[in-house]
């Protein structure tokens, strides 16, 4: 590229996002646990049009996951209780991670754990791999007894897990928060102070459905995590409140299926969005979201997505440069 010969179409708004050291072409991350490693959706969508894929959460030791049934459809959403099925970090690094090298979008590892040491150990080993562009700390999984979520619901544990992970990697560290708390903004500030580069807001909302014929919970695990359009208002408010409390970027998620849904999150203060269950509704959702956001910006004469981030949130202080 000689003499600035790169031509940038002046009518094409800039949708790129910077999250810590991670540069995303598009502001869309596929929610952890909802998109496999990307390969599964490759027949149905052009993966190069995604910002990135957040991989399924991995733990120190192998986990079989919960007994089926693991899913139940509920109004405008679903309950899941997968229970972190994964082969453990050893087998994962040895056999799986190399396959992620050729993904044409960012690949973000997700780490779950049951002790502060787990988070540090798994983050360190995972982040050391070139195939992994950034790490998301899943301190908010509601489907592993009371253990998993304790971290996102207890300020001290949230802080310790974040610090421990921060200490072992220079790659972008996203901490994923739980909505199942009295004050999510408080946990958000703690994670920011402990070194998170960004926050994923929100993980699923705890819920249960009961099979009235068999008189027992519909999920093998009893309770599960609610996702999909049903939780969108909960997630939008969480982003709105967290955006007032921190100065690091937010990856807003919970029930995003369309560009209008995504715009609610950007306007509330999210710098990027996560799409999980929305892919089950419409496998093309991620490209439709990007196309719709682009049109929205053009219609309003905006040249950069970041110019509308927080526009509906008067107390949003902006993302620290």
């Amino acid at each position: 590229m000689v003499n600035g010969a790169v031509r940038v179409d002046p009518t094409e708004p800039d949708l790129s996002v910077r999250i810590g050291r991670l540069e995303l072409r598009y502001p869309t991350l596929m929610g952890s646990g909802c998109y496999g490693s990307g390969e599964e959706y490759a027949p149905f969508i052009d993966l190069s049009l995604l910002g990135g894929v957040v991989l399924k959460s991995v733990t120190r030791l192998p986990r079989l996951g919960n007994d089926p049934p693991r899913l139940a459809a509920v109004p405008s959403g679903m309950l899941n209780a997968i229970g972190l099925q994964n082969p453990g970090i050893d087998a994962y690094l040895e056999r799986d991670v190399a396959k992620f090298a050729d993904r044409p979008c960012a690949v973000i590892g997700s780490v779950a754990g049951f002790s502060v040491d787990d988070y540090a150990y798994v983050t360190k080993r995972l982040a050391a791999r070139d195939e992994i562009d950034a790490v998301e700390l899943n301190i908010s999984c509601p489907n592993v007894g009371t253990e998993g979520e304790t971290f996102a619901c207890d300020p001290e544990l949230a802080e310790a897990a974040t610090r421990a992970a921060r200490a072992v990697t220079g790659k972008t560290l996203i901490v994923k928060l739980s909505p199942n708390v009295t004050d999510i903004a408080r946990i958000a500030r703690i994670a920011e102070d402990a070194g998170a580069d960004a926050l994923a807001v929100i993980n699923t909302v705890r819920g249960m459905a009961i099979d009235v014929e068999r008189q027992r919970p519909r999920l093998g695990n009893g309770s599960g995590g609610l996702s999909g359009a049903a939780i969108r208002p909960i997630a939008v408010l969480a982003v709105y409140e967290v955006a007032q409390a921190v100065r690091i970027p937010i990856v807003g998620q919970g029930g995003i299926e369309t560009a209008r849904d995504a715009l609610e999150f950007f306007l509330a203060g999210a710098s990027a969005v996560g799409i999980g269950t929305g892919n089950f509704t419409d496998a093309q959702a991620p490209v439709k979201v990007v196309a719709g956001v682009r049109d929205y910006l053009i219609a309003r004469g905006k040249t950069r997505l970041r110019d509308i981030v927080g526009a509906a949130n008067p107390a949003f202080a902006g993302v620290r440069a």
Binding site: C34, F44, L71, P75, G77, Q85, Y92, D96, F280, T281
Partner: protein, 291 residues
């Protein structure tokens, strides 16, 4: 013998035909211009809701031809209701064809097709494939009552013998289709079954007692339908590394898995792992399930 996978992709479809063979059961005929290759028996589609807001629904591909397929829908909840309500001319999208389907070649030359309720929808393409191979097939078909035994003429037209069972005895054998099958006693070379889980569990028992290999098409609540969410798993025989054993069809990019141990009714302590019904299945060898 792993089968080549017909490429799956997103398809737009238009409803061109709609009939209601019984109350609450609808067969939709769809024109799918982008569907060029044939689908394999036992494959399914993830059909998107016309209005969004809820996950797509897994439906067996009932019939398929060039640029055309049909679906049979039993209304059990809001999503099946929305699809059953589609009118001629309406458009829907789907991911198809998905899953590995049945392996007609390994079922021998005297195949028992065993269907419970809407399970019948997974077996018509298989029946045609079995007949095309020159093999014999019988259909054992059970439902609540005579009125719900739909579409068996489609099988009869292929020259397949049909035996019925109904819970209330209103047609054929009174009782479960698995008992009809067990009572009948014929030594088939292979079984292909599809229906509610309790029926399939019982069918697995009968098949095992009679030592007839059986391919069962399972049903679990689905999320993605494409192998991404690990929501639809069932326990399946695995080796010491967690690699599932003896799957039907190709396993593409199976990630490594944790291995567990479990007592089953038939075996004391068996290694198993959780495999995805949507991706490693939906059809499995009955002997390999660790229910």
């Amino acid at each position: 013998m792993p089968l080549a996978q017909t490429a799956s992709s997103v398809h737009a479809a238009v409803v061109v035909d709609r009939r209601e063979p019984a109350p609450g059961i609808v067969v939709l005929g769809l024109r799918v211009p982008s569907l060029e290759e044939s689908v394999r028996p036992g494959q399914f589609a993830m059909v998107a809701m016309p209005s969004g807001e809820q996950a797509a629904v897994a439906l067996a591909i009932y019939e398929a031809g060039a640029q055309h397929l049909s679906l049979m829908i039993v209304v059990v909840g809001t999503r099946t209701a929305a699809l059953a309500n589609l009118a001629i001319g309406e458009r829907i999208e789907m991911l198809a064809p998905l899953g590995n389907g049945f392996e007609a070649e390994t079922l021998g030359d005297d195949v028992a097709l065993v269907a419970g309720g809407v399970g019948i929808a997974s077996l018509l393409l298989l029946a045609a494939a079995v007949v095309r191979r020159g093999a014999r097939a019988c259909l054992y078909y059970g439902a609540r009552a005579a009125g719900a035994l739909v579409e068996s003429d489609r099988f009869a037209r292929l020259g397949i013998e049909v035996s019925n069972a109904t819970d209330d005895g209103s047609r054929g054998y009174r009782g479960f289709v698995t008992e009809l099958f067990a009572a009948e006693g014929r030594r088939h070379s292979g079984i292909a079954g599809c229906g509610p889980t309790p029926m399939l569990r019982r069918l697995a028992e009968v098949a095992s007692q009679r030592r007839i290999p059986a391919q069962l098409s399972l049903e679990e609540p689905f999320g993605c339908g494409v192998g991404a969410c690990w929501g639809c798993v069932i326990p399946h025989a695995a080796d010491e590394n967690g690699a599932p054993q003896n799957l039907i069809g190709a396993t593409r990019n199976l990630p490594s898995l944790a291995v567990g141990h479990r007592r089953t009714t038939q075996r004391k302590d068996e290694r198993f792992t959780y495999v995805r019904v949507c991706r490693e299945g939906p059809v499995f060898w009955s002997e390999e399930l660790r229910w």
